[in-house]
């Protein structure tokens, strides 16, 4: 999308003479560029399908979630007596929470089993994508590469270093997720009331006609604003926290440069940066949970609004 391009352009145009905090930070949260993709795919219909960092993260998250959930559920179903044990307990609690606390109050008893799977998938996927972004896997890999592995300049390990780890911090990813919500709202309304009735339900009935001139554009706009707000909220929240952590950590390098010696940077790091970064990381753990919850809750609310029309 537009924002991502702007960010990358900004990175490209910025000339790096000294330590440039803005450039480093943006490079750590935005997607890796198309000039060094992880996997080259030829252009199809003029679109570059090369695999970038965020696509790789999406695959990792999807594989992780499917393997963990499928293995757990298969093991549970193979038993003679269906007794939940171990991780299955946690999974059951999660499913129950999503169904009873998020979907049921909003969607209603009649449609709860239709829409719980979608909302549950959203929650698990977004939560795992957010949470994996907090784990510094690639930073550890980079340190290992620098001191132990010493791979070549164009190796896969070096390529993986570029770009951020949180796939949900990419506006394209969240826009895709929100378009599923957009489709789900229309499908929900159409299934509950019929296709034509869903569209007439958008505005209240029996008003004076001049009001409709005002109301119809507002409601049509609202239809698009809902998924747009979902997109922006998730992506901006996931980017914002990481930028804050990186900005605080970059004090170390800024102070080193300012005073010309490493001791100043390390001192500031130990006294200010590390405690603050730990605090914000703790806050990020909450944000990760809350944002997954918010996305699923709002999806359930919007689907419920299409089904239970209060006009």
């Amino acid at each position: 999308m537009f924002v991502q391009e702007a960010v990358q352009e900004h990175v490209a145009t910025e000339a790096a003479e000294k330590f440039n905090a803005g450039k480093v930070i943006i490079e750590h949260v935005s997607n890796s560029g198309l000039d060094h993709p992880l996997l080259h795919v030829p252009r199809v219909l003029g679109i570059d399908f090369s695999v970038t960092k965020h696509v790789l993260m999406l695959w990792i998250v999807a594989a992780f979630v499917s393997i963990v959930v499928i293995v757990t559920v298969r093991r549970y179903l193979r038993q003679d007596r269906l007794m939940a044990s171990g991780f299955m307990n946690a999974l059951e609690a999660l499913v129950e929470f999503i169904r009873d606390a998020i979907v049921l109050p909003n969607v209603g008893r009649k449609w709860v089993n239709t829409w719980t799977p979608l909302v549950l998938t959203f929650f698990v996927f977004i939560f795992c994508a957010n949470a994996i972004g907090l784990i510094p896997i690639f930073e550890v890999l980079g340190v290992l590469d620098h001191f132990v592995l010493h791979t070549a300049e164009e190796s896969l390990v070096k390529h993986v270093m570029h770009g951020g780890t949180t796939a949900t911090a990419n506006f394209n990813v969240t826009a895709a997720l929100a378009s599923i919500t957009f489709g789900a709202i229309i499908v929900a309304g159409s299934k509950a009331h019929g296709f034509v009735k869903h569209w007439t339900n958008l505005v209240p009935h029996g008003l004076a006609w001049p009001l409709y001139i005002l109301l119809i554009p507002i409601e049509v706009m609202g239809m698009f604003v809902k998924p747009f707000a979902l997109t922006m909220r998730l992506a901006a929240n996931m980017t914002g926290g990481h930028i804050a952590i990186l900005a605080i950590l970059s004090f170390v390098f800024l102070f080193t440069e300012m005073f010309g010696r490493a001791v100043a940077g390390v001192g500031v790091g130990l006294a200010v940066s590390v405690p603050l970064a730990v605090g914000i990381s703790l806050l990020e753990i909450i944000v990760v949970l809350v944002q997954a919850y918010v996305f699923t809750l709002l999806t359930a609310v919007f689907i419920g609004m299409a089904i239970n029309v209060h006009h």
Partner: protein, 74 residues
């Protein structure tokens, strides 16, 4: 006038924070007050406060994204 976009972005960011803080403060105070009056209804009150709170947060985040855009696209 090279720094003017930064100037505007900084003022805008400050105003966003003021607005969001006022809004969240009102939510928190109203929720705390009503829970104090009716501790039994705490769950319902939390549920009712949650949704508008997230909508408010969404507006603030949107504004921050636009501020970021001003800086990046100047």
């Amino acid at each position: 006038m090279n720094g003017l976009p930064f100037f505007g972005a900084a003022i805008g960011l400050g105003m966003i924070v003021i607005g969001a803080a006022l809004g969240i403060g009102k939510f928190a105070s109203a929720a705390a007050e009503s829970i104090a009056r009716q501790p039994n209804a705490a769950d319902k009150i939390t549920g009712a406060v949650n949704l508008p709170l997230f909508l408010l947060e969404g507006v603030a985040i949107l504004a921050e994204v636009f501020v970021l855009l001003i800086v990046l696209l100047k």
